[in-house]
Structure formats: C-alpha cells, structure tokens
C-alpha cells in the first residue's frame, strides 16, 4: 500500500518526516498525517472497503499504519441504529444512533484512536505507552498496552468515577492519580512527555492517534449506504472527534466514494464545561478556557486543544452547538435508554440532550436525517443515576405478596 507522506503542519504547511512528533517547531501548529490521496484514488473503493474485515481496519489504507495492525484487531464497525422510537419521541422523521458504547474492547470510541496509536508506538520501537485521560482513554490505553505487551503509565484526575478507575486498573498499568483537573494532568503530561521517551498517545503520538477517529465517520457514511446524513451531533471534549468525522467525509469525497458533503455538524457540551459551544454561540474563534464543573467528566476538558478546529467545523458546515445542564444530561441518558434500550455514559447524555434541544429550538429540522454520536458506555458512570433509579419493588417470595405489590403499583399515579 501507499505509505503516508510523513507529517504536515496544519497551520503553516511545513513538512516533517514520519516521527513521534506532534507540534510544528516553527508555529506550534498541530501536525497531521499527510496522505497521498492521488495514489489512493481508484485503489480505495467502496468495493475494496466492503471486502475488508468487520472492524475499523476495513479503512486501514486511510489510517496511518505502515505495517500490520499490532493490537485491537476487532475495534470498530459498531452498529448504526435506526432509532425510530427516539425519533417518534422527539417528533423527527429519521434519527440514527452510532453506538460506540459497544465498541470492542473497552466500550468507547477511544479504542479506535488507541489501537492506531499503540500499533504506531510498536512501529517506532517504543516499549512504553502513556496517556492523560478523563477515563475512557485510560481504559483503552491500559487494555491495548496489555494486549501489545507494552508497559503503560496512565495519568488521571484523582476524582475520576470509580468505574473508570477499576476498568483501568484491571489491565495492570501504572495508574497515576493526579490531584488536579484534567487540564492540569494534561499540562503535567506534556512536561513528562518531554522528559521520558514514552509513546504518549495524546501528546507525541497525537497525529496518529487522532486519525483513528476518522473510522467513526467512515462507518457512519458506509452504514448509511454510502450517504452522508443531514446532521451529526457530536460530543466535544478536546474537540478532535468532530473534526475527524468531518475530515473522514471530506476524504471519501476526495477519493470519489461519495458526492458533495452537505452535512451540518453540531458540538454537544456540558454547560459546566462548554468552551467550544461558547465559541460557536459567540461566533468567535478565540477560545476562553474554563474550569470544568460537570457530571460529564469524560468531556471535562476546559482547555480543548482542538477547540479552534471544532468551532471551525461547526461553522464551516453550517452547523451549531448546544450546552446541557447536569439535569438534562441525566434526562438524556434516561431518554436514550427508555426509547432505544441503549445505556450510554454521561457524555452520551450530553449528546442526546443537546440534540433534543437543537431539534426543539428548530436549529435541526425535524424532517432531515440526524445522526447522534454515542461514544461511551453507561456502566462506566452509574454514579449519577443512583439517586434517580431506586423505584424497584421488593417483596417476599409469595404470589400474594406480588399480587399486592402489583395492585399498589397500578394504583400509583404514573
């Protein structure tokens, strides 16, 4: 296959050889993988992709892997579900849920980025991988490092949900809980990455890592029958996913696999940590960092590295964004579970709630196709539901006790 042409600065265009580098030495702009699209045209086709494995690796030629896939062979190709019950509830014609709450192996879309980053770490000869994480990335790096027999150092904010801590520790990494916000953890990791020769998936491996997210966008298009939807609502933390879904659709267009991309992109964030949506609402490309305060901890990044680009995607596509309160987040989780039988984490609650508000405000028209991006699993963040969900019936093991309980239930106002 055609290897990518090294890296390229997204801002000034300067070229770099393929290396574990993430920042342009000259303008500090982020580096991106530079593909040879001309050579891929006619080689990567709908047919060649459809003949691939039922995983994200059916798009391997559009991912920055030179050799064989080292870890995460079964990541991706998650269900795209026609969510008619949710559509009926919201008064819409066509809603789809792209369900990465069941992504293999750690139940979030982060498996897509990590399998690329860890494979790349092996290609570059690293024996240790690391990350700063709000939880999902921690789970995924620890799992894929275990599979790849690499050492791993995982840095998290000390107040992370217990479910996410356990679902990291089980893979036997070195877990470092830092007393501080994610942004503080991230800054620390940037300095650690400068000092130790580790593959920090979200620091020096960012150009490769972030490309994995494109597979989420490719899948949406392929699963819709090689069509782009009218609207995509995406949860935003660092802001990378929304830019990579957009890039994925543009790449498919460049390769001639689809027609023009007319999709409008929408950023979903919590009110307690919504700097990207604030940019969109204020129509400014200047990001003002915030101190996060939200139950959606996986989205609690107050200083998103890709905030500027996420804002640009929403704006350039004709989309928008929406903030959601903690109450709305829980309501969003419950709404998706109640209508579609999908249990998503708080970040998914943010996305569902934001989509609902955008539809109710008339920003997203009810008669066009809408994709809601569900990126993580609800079993990781049950804490926020504890107070809401205790209405089960407790009885003795007798039929009469059940009869009585049933009668009581029916007599209660619903």
């Amino acid at each position: 296959m055609e290897k990518p042409n090294g890296l390229r600065c997204r801002e000034c265009g300067r070229h770099y050889e393929a290396a574990p580098l993430h920042v342009c030495e000259f303008c500090f702009g982020p580096l991106e993988v530079d593909y040879r699209y001309d050579a891929l045209k006619g080689v990567v086709t709908r047919k060649s992709i459809e003949a691939g494995p039922p995983s994200m690796w059916r798009y391997k030629q559009l991912l920055p892997i030179d050799g064989d896939v080292a870890v995460g062979h079964h990541v991706g190709f998650t269900p795209l579900i026609r969510a008619q019950n949710l559509a009926d509830e919201l008064g819409c014609r066509e809603i789809w849920v792209k369900n990465d709450s069941v992504c293999h192996p750690t139940w979030s879309f982060k498996d897509r980025v990590v399998s690329v980053a860890v494979t790349k770490a092996r290609e570059f000869g690293f024996d240790t991988v690391a990350c700063a994480s709000t939880g999902n990335l921690a789970n995924s790096v620890a799992a894929h490092a275990a599979e790849g027999r690499l050492k791993s150092y995982i840095f998290i904010p000390a107040d992370l949900e217990q479910g996410k801590v356990l679902a990291t520790l089980v893979y036997d990494p070195t877990l470092v809980a830092v007393h501080g916000t994610y942004d503080e953890v991230n800054r620390l990791c940037s300095e650690i990455a400068d000092k130790y020769r580790w593959a920090f998936v979200n620091v020096n491996f960012r150009p490769y890592y972030s490309e994995g997210s494109k597979s989420y966008g490719f899948e949406i298009v392929e699963q819709l029958g090689w069509k782009t939807p009218g609207h995509i609502v995406v949860p935003c933390a660092g802001g990378s996913l929304i830019t990579k879904i957009w890039k994925a659709m543009k790449e498919l267009k460049t390769l001639g696999l689809i027609d023009d991309v007319r999709t409008r992109m929408y950023a979903a964030q919590a009110l307690g940590c919504g700097p990207i949506v604030t940019m969109i609402k204020n129509d400014t490309d200047q990001l003002v960092p915030v101190r996060p305060s939200t139950i959606a901890k996986s989205l609690a990044i107050g200083n998103p590295a890709d905030g500027y680009y996420a804002y640009k995607v929403a704006k350039d596509s004709g989309g928008s964004g929406e903030h959601t309160t903690d109450e709305e987040i829980v309501e969003g989780m419950l709404l998706l579970a109640r209508t579609e039988g999908i249990f998503t984490e708080t970040a998914g609650g943010v996305t569902v709630a934001a989509a609902k508000k955008l539809i109710e405000r008339g920003v997203i028209p009810r008669d066009e196709s809408i994709v809601i991006c569900i990126t993580g699993n609800g079993l990781k963040t049950p804490d926020c539901l504890q107070d809401r969900l205790d209405a089960h019936v407790k009885i003795k093991p007798s039929l009469s006790a059940f009869d009585q309980a049933l009668a009581d239930l029916k007599s209660q106002p619903s």
């Binding site: 801002e11 500090f28 982020p30 990335l137 972030s210």
Partner: protein, 91 residues
C-alpha cells in the same frame, strides 16, 4: 527578578538544548522580551505577527494558565516558574 522558564522540545534548538532557562521580567510580556534578548528568535515563535500569543501555545505561571490570570500582563516575582507548553489533545 529571575524566574525559571521551562522550554518545550520544539524550542530547544533556540536555547542550545536547554530545557530550563533563567529569565527576568515584571510581567510575562517583559519576560518574553528578556528571553528574546538572550535567545534571539524565541519571541517570533511565541507571538504572532500582531504580537499576540500564538493560538497553540499555552503559558503557565506556577502551574496556572495565564488566561486565568492577567494573560501577558500577569505579574512575575522572584522564584516563579513559567512553563511554555504546546496545546495537546485528550479525552
């Protein structure tokens, strides 16, 4: 007022490979002026044509993002630690 300045890898070619250097200044802005005198070329890498901090650079004074303080006007005192950190992804 000497302060300790941490230099990220992309800028170390300008500081002869040093990861930590000493600088002087009443504010972050005047510190950048001092760094430019010591290591010519550094200022252009930190500030854009209009003199604003480049979009993808974060500066911290004692671990605090200067955008939460007084940005480039943030005051410095003896012994402060200033970190220059490129924006990084996450999640």
């Amino acid at each position: 007022m000497p302060v300790l300045v941490r230099i990220p890898t992309p800028l170390r070619a300008l500081t002869k490979g040093s990861a930590e250097i000493q600088g002087k200044g009443e504010t972050v802005d005047s510190l950048i002026g001092d760094l430019e005198r010591q290591y010519p070329g550094l200022k252009d890498r930190l500030l854009d044509e209009s003199g604003e901090l480049r979009r993808f650079i974060n500066i911290y004074v004692n671990q605090e993002d200067i955008r939460f303080l007084q940005a480039k006007k943030t005051a410095l005192k003896d012994g402060d630690e200033v970190s220059i950190v490129p924006a990084i992804a996450g999640g």
